[in-house]
Point group: C2
């Protein structure tokens, strides 16, 4: 029998006249699915269901699933940068970008976890790159040093949200098991072999995810600031000893 997703037979037939599917409609369907579902949410067949169309209809609008994914990701990342208020200093702008990115990762975990080591090369990616470069520039970095710290910050942020998103995709059982490990298994290790773990087992179990996020963001912000201070100092007093900023 034709079309086993039955509710939609007549609809597809009649609406067949115009093109019922558009790239935007498909992208939005993916975002809807991603927002609802777990790790297996974004499959071609499920997307067909969501659209009330044959799964393979997508291939009329996107070369393959990967191209669709990148388009979806670009749309999603747009949300990360949207709500950033103007008039903030470069540090707070970077912090706001990080917070927005994390928000997106928690909203569309499937999409973010599949994209976090990719380059979309689309409109909104350029916007974010420009955004970070502007911050780095305002911090006082130039040329190769600015490029390096942009890449470091951007990659670090992407890695973090990708990691977070991927974790949220595991079965609740696996997630719970991983989290409980801190409270259960680490506490019962041999204190002779693992003195620090056993001593800190309570504190290890109590660490807050949000705090980890803040530490990692702050580490990158401070690193940018530190390197900016170094270059400006070098510019002011040319060629002293490379100041060894540690013990």
């Amino acid at each position: 029998m034709p079309n086993r997703y039955n509710g939609a037979i007549m609809a597809t037939r009649t609406r067949r006249s115009g093109s019922q599917l558009s790239p935007d409609q498909i992208i939005e369907a993916v975002l809807r699915i991603a927002e609802r579902g777990g790790s297996d949410a974004f499959t071609v067949r499920r997307l067909g269901e969501e659209l009330g169309a044959d799964p393979t209809a997508i291939y009329r609008h996107f070369r393959d699933k990967d191209e669709l994914l990148l388009s979806v990701a670009d749309r999603a990342f747009g949300e990360a940068i949207d709500g950033i208020p103007a008039g903030l200093g470069w540090k707070d702008r970077l912090r706001a970008l990080a917070a927005g990115s994390l928000r997106v990762a928690l909203k569309y975990p499937v999409v973010v976890s599949m994209t976090a080591s990719r380059t979309t090369r689309r409109e909104r990616e350029f916007l974010i790159v420009e955004f970070i470069l502007e911050c780095v520039h305002e911090a006082g970095l130039e040329g190769g040093e600015a490029a390096l710290l942009y890449r470091s910050f951007g990659d670090a942020l992407l890695a973090f949200i990708g990691q977070t998103a991927a974790f949220r995709l595991f079965d609740p059982d696996v997630q719970a098991g991983d989290l409980a490990a801190w409270a259960r298994e680490y506490r019962t290790l041999d204190p002779a072999r693992f003195p620090h773990i056993t001593r800190l087992s309570d504190e290890l179990a109590a660490v807050d995810e949000q705090e980890i996020f803040d530490v990692r963001v702050e580490a990158m912000v401070s690193e940018i600031e530190r390197r900016a201070a170094l270059t400006s100092r070098r510019r002011a007093a040319p060629a002293p000893e490379e100041p060894s900023e540690q013990a």
Copy 2:
């Protein structure tokens, strides 16, 4: 019932002469495959081929592919910590751990990319946790602050090597495309809309991956140092203003 908590029973019971497969043999076969192959290297059927056995034979020794993966990952991460020389300061020990982890990620990309947001809860993971905690302790952090910075460093490291490994797994075409984007597409953007990108396009294309790695590791090391300095200062002179480390 098959023997799912591998190793232990086999060891106590006299070893069956007829059984050709052991958990260790399987783990090593996976490592061999992972070292050779790309993203599709670690499949059950390929593993069967490598072992010269039926693919499903694995399920007599591991509950499912995931349990096998975690065992393999634990073995692999052992290599990260093995070659770290004694007698280094905490900073250099953390740097050595990071370098070793990156080495492992490049050696077994499939394994690392599949594990980077997981917890193996196995022997060698505990060793690495203890290792980092010892460094953080030596840096001067205690209690909840030590736990927090351990988690931040560990997760950041895991995220980075996972991201790197995942990238190496893409088709060479995709990899080349992503890398070339910096040199090609970013250069042709509209300078009015993207002034920083176009101004720095040459430097962006020239950024070295190893430098990014160093920046990100150094950022975390510095953050640990910074927070350690704050707590010790707080301990020396209790409850002043939170010292804002200059704008």
